[in-house]
């Protein structure tokens, strides 16, 4: 039997924002606002530092990822170059 607190909407899902440098409070708040508009679910935002993304942001919720990182863009270019030998 599921505990009441584990039902959808009652416990907020955790969304992690990876950035290279710590985000300022206003930026985080603005991000929360736009994400609320986009996702329409109850969530809690956390900011973590990950230097591997080189630049930009990477927003992760479980398996779902919104990738705005520089690492991803460079990887795309790398794939294209490898295709052309």
């Amino acid at each position: 039997m599921r505990k009441k607190s584990k039902q959808k909407g009652l416990t907020p899902t955790k969304i992690i924002v990876y950035s290279v440098l710590a985000l300022k409070k206003q930026d985080l708040k603005q991000l929360e606002k736009s994400l609320k508009k986009l996702l329409k679910i109850n969530f809690v935002l956390e900011n973590r530092i990950d230097e591997e993304i080189i630049g930009g942001l990477k927003i992760v919720s479980g398996s779902k990822i919104i990738d705005l990182s520089l690492q991803n863009q460079l990887n795309k270019i790398k794939k294209l170059m490898l295709n052309y030998g």
């Binding site: 479980g62 398996s63 779902k64 990822i65 990738d67 991803n72 863009q73 294209l80 170059m81 052309y84």
Partner: protein, 512 residues
């Protein structure tokens, strides 16, 4: 130099067209990996049979959806992957690129080219898994698919849109029947697809060379998942064949697909299922091995004219072990197909090649897939042969029998002799009709058994030289009318008199 510049130019074009913006995807992680199977965590919204993207452009297929992980099969080589690698959902199902440029080429089940000609990029794709056409879209089978093999076209005729199983032990001539049929489709406007599943590469190379030598590769596509390919490629190969066949069928064309062979396909599926820890049943096959073959073979059908009138004829091959047709996979496929051609090693070694047993071979479409001329000639053939088989035991004492029985035995022996056919020598339907007409009308009764195949060759050559119009007439009218029969009888008596003169001379020589 110019080629490199062109390449660079293409590259810059693609680079500027690349949209470096936000990317939304779902990513999971490989927990364990081995034997072509990966266990993945995360990806809780992945769907069954969905395509997954592994690092270095490797693809995988979702096979098992479990509580806390996903079991996926990796298509192709997995040696460059490791535990912890990221895996992405693609929200697509497996598709193969198709186009008429595929005809004459050799490809693998993913559409990658394996022959020496330059690779092509095709625009259209077809899904590998598709639901077979329903009842409304179909039409009964009534057009013959001429295999060029007398024994089949006369007694076990195959129609366009039928599924006919070729079943027998190893080395009994199953692949030969399929190759002869493909060679015979040369000017028949039928696109042939040969799917090699788990075969030795040397055998496939021989087959491709044979098709080239007989000019048959120009209307054939070869799909190759040989014995050294991963089990996942062997599992997908027949579905790729069916997908390409459906592409041409949609355009209203007739397609012939040969699956060589489905026994190895079932082995590959068993390997994948056991590695994914699916519960095993009889002979260690998974519980849905029937569904594996039924959904594949049901895609072979004849569409009605509203949907284009195209057809797919399927020739699946099953290899039995020690003639055991009551094993699991053979019985499964027998119940799915519209008939079987049994090949027996005893007949093969007795010199009857093709080693078809007409007594237990069946075609559930039958006469509806024969031209009128063939029906006239082959009508009594099966009966004559079955009577011959019953009396065959007495054939050893043929001097002690009454003339009627003796005549039956002689006739049966001659029919058996004329049904023998050399490898890779399919006959046109008009030649088959004439050949069988000689046997059933009794003209061969006067010729000694050892000389029958030679006589057949000479008679057909004789007609080609002097009475070409007979063949034309049969081909066009698809019938054998009394006039044509009269001309054939004339030609026959002419040639027979030659033969009897030769015999008399030989006798004279022997005596002297």
């Amino acid at each position: 130099m110019a080629k490199n510049l062109l390449k660079l130019d293409n590259f810059y074009k693609k680079l500027t067209a690349l949209k470096l913006e936000v990317e939304v995807y779902e990513e999971g992680k490989i927990i364990s990996l081995g034997d072509g199977i990966a266990k993945i965590s995360g990806l809780n919204e992945a769907m069954y049979n969905e395509l997954l993207l592994f690092p270095q452009n490797t693809y995988g297929l979702v096979f098992n959806l479990e509580k806390k992980s996903i079991g996926a099969i990796i298509i192709g080589n997995d040696s460059h992957l490791k535990a912890g690698d990221p895996v992405r959902r693609t929200s697509r199902i497996l598709e193969i690129p198709v186009g008429k440029e595929l005809i004459g080429r050799v490809i693998n089940p993913l559409g990658q080219f394996l022959d020496e000609k330059p690779p092509l990029s095709l625009k259209e794709t077809m899904p590998l898994e598709k639901i077979a056409p329903g009842i409304i879209e179909r039409q009964p089978v009534n057009t013959p698919l001429q295999t060029g093999i007398k024994a089949i076209d006369s007694m076990i005729p195959i129609g366009r849109g039928q599924r006919e199983l070729i079943i027998g032990d190893r080395g009994t001539g199953k692949t030969t029947i399929v190759i002869d049929t493909i060679i015979n489709q040369k000017n028949e406007n039928v696109i042939c697809i040969y799917v090699a599943i788990g075969q030795r590469v040397s055998k496939i190379a021989k087959i491709i060379q044979k098709l080239k030598d007989f000019g048959a590769l120009e209307h054939t596509i070869v799909i190759c998942a040989n014995a050294s390919d991963s089990a996942s490629l062997q599992y997908l190969a027949p579905f790729s064949g069916a997908a390409i066949g459906e592409y041409f069928m949609k355009q209203g064309k007739d397609v012939l697909i040969a699956y060589d062979d489905l026994s190895k396909h079932a082995w590959a599926y068993r390997q994948l299922s056991l590695l994914l820890k699916r519960p095993s049943g009889r002979e260690a096959y998974p519980g849905d091995v029937f569904y594996l073959h039924s959904r594949l073979l049901e895609r072979a059908c004849r569409l009605n004219d509203k949907f284009g009138g195209g057809s797919i004829t399927a020739l699946p091959i099953i290899e039995t072990q020690a003639g055991d047709v009551s094993a699991y996979i053979p019985t499964n496929v027998i119940s799915i197909t519209d008939g079987q051609i049994y090949l027996e090693p005893d007949l093969f070694f007795a010199g009857i090649r093709p080693a078809i047993n007409p007594g237990i071979s069946v075609s559930r479409v039958g006469g509806a897939a024969q031209i009128k001329a063939m029906k006239k000639v082959a009508g009594m053939l099966r009966l004559d042969l079955s009577q011959y088989r019953e009396l065959a035991a007495f054939a050893q004492f043929s001097t002690d029998l009454d003339p009627a029985t003796k005549a039956k035995i002689e006739r049966g022996a001659r029919i058996t002799e004329i049904l023998k056919q050399a490898e890779n020598q399919p006959l046109k339907v008009e030649e088959e009709v004439v050949s069988l007409w000689c046997a059933t009308k009794g003209f061969l009764d006067k010729i000694p058994l050892e000389k029958i195949s030679q006589f057949e060759k000479e008679f057909l050559e004789f007609l080609k030289k002097n009475k070409r119009n007979v063949f034309e007439k049969i081909r066009k009218s698809k019938d054998l009318d009394t006039e044509t029969e009269k001309e054939l009888t004339k030609a026959m008596t002419q040639l027979l008199s030659f033969y009897q003169e030769e015999e008399k001379e030989e006798e004279k020589e022997e005596l002297s």
